[in-house]
Amino acid sequence: MRGKILLAFVIGLSTWSAVVTAHDHEHASHVMAPAAPLPGTSIYNLTSSWTNQDGKRINLESLRGGPVVVAMGYTSCKDICAMIVADMVAIEDRMKKVPLPRINFAFFSLDSAVDTPERLSAYAKDHGLDLKDWMLFNGDDKAVRELAAALGVRYRRDASGGFDHSAIIIILDADGRIAAQQPDAQANTEEMVRKISALLSPTSH
């Protein structure tokens, strides 16, 4: 997984440094320097650790380096969660058609007990998720609680063992700041793609 993130990062860097080099050669070397401190509003300030669909432990900061499209849900959810994932895939398909670096998609499970890495891996396969840019995460109760609080996702276990939860898609910028949030029921792929493209375009910085 680290490799995939790194790859996305390197691709991002090459586009970025090409532009930077054209303007100011000296600054290009700074791009390769150790990462600057995280902005205070970055979600990546959360130190909780997560396990991905391959059973690898990661911390959130390793997602740093490019925009990430994020949602929280749980795999045994039949209705809206599947819609959220479908809407994220629509963004992914649309982004593949534009000449911009690949971005990452992250699904964080609310269901610590049920959504084991194996289960997440099976879910990814069943839904045809491209693991070149998708990551699915399991975390403990505390990790889930803190991430949900930071992202503004409300959730609550219901009587049938599932969850009532906000269905929102969140776009994080390269440093993990919330760049956009959209209730899924109104997911507008074109608008989301526009917002991501703006984040990827160096002229917007």
Binding site: G73, C77, A149, D158, G162, F163, D164, S166, P183, D184
Partner: protein, 252 residues
């Protein structure tokens, strides 16, 4: 040190830091509808396991000890992800309370993240809404007084300072100040979702929920309970408000 507040010192026997809350059945105020695959019916009680609860809200003095040991939670170092710019703004500086009196007043202007970090540093956690409400329900003891006290509290304008903790009467479990001093953070403060509670989001968000969403209440005449749930759910985890404090919960 924990319970050695001015108010406590004036008592014959000091207030213990934490009290035991025995197990029992409790009918939560907010109820799930018997929707989608749920066999549960309205007004079904839930079993609450025994737990320990701080007898008093956390004081400024206690919170000062915490930030002394955990510099990342000092006012000048706090990250905006974890608390907004009102964080501890009523203090004189990072490590100085406004005056001596403040030591025995409940800490306010603390975010959910900061409250959780404080409890965790003590090996505790924030109480769940259900357990907090269970402690307030006090096995039905003095509930009319509690309700009246709540209504009186709501009808008073917010005072400049909340007043000293432990000044009033303990409930049947030995818990003080659940009502009348400050609102309190709970672990899952934002998890009770109804249309009217989404005040921080656009009205279009009514469609933005996954799940039954049909929530009823066990006693529609319980105005103070509506107020408590509405207040909690209006908070975001990084809000630091002048009338919101907290206490911690632990295993029995």
């Amino acid at each position: 040190m924990a319970a050695t507040t001015v108010a406590a010192m004036e008592r014959a026997s000091p207030i213990p830091a934490m009290v035991s809350i025995p197990a029992g059945d409790f009918t939560p105020f907010f109820q799930e509808g018997p929707g989608k695959g749920s066999a549960r019916t309205i007004n079904a009680p839930v079993r609450i396991h025994a737990f320990r609860l701080d007898a008093l809200p956390v004081s400024n003095l206690q919170f000062l000890d915490f930030v002394r040991e955990h510099p990342e939670w000092r006012r000048s170092r706090i990250k905006p992800l974890f608390a907004d710019h009102h964080y501890l703004e009523n203090w004189h500086s990072d490590l100085a309370l406004p005056d001596e009196k403040a030591a025995s007043e409940p800490v306010t202007n603390v975010s959910w993240f900061a409250a959780e970090a404080y409890c965790e540093a003590r090996g505790l956690r924030l109480p769940t809404t259900e357990r907090w409400e269970y402690a307030l329900a006090d096995r039905g003891r003095q509930q009319r007084e509690v309700k009246q006290q709540s209504l009186d509290w709501f009808s008073r304008p917010n005072p400049k300072r909340p007043g000293a903790i432990g000044g009033g009467k303990a409930n049947g479990y030995g818990v003080y100040d659940l009502v009348g001093l400050v609102w309190e953070w709970t672990l899952d403060h934002s998890s009770f979702m109804t249309g009217t509670e989404q005040r921080n989001t656009s009205s279009k968000d009514d469609a933005a929920f996954c799940g039954s969403g049909s929530i009823g209440v066990s006693d529609a005449t319980n105005y103070p309970a509506f107020m408590r749930y509405a207040m909690r759910s209006s908070l975001k985890a990084n809000y630091a408000m002048e009338n919101v404090g907290f206490r911690c919960e632990g295993d029995e």
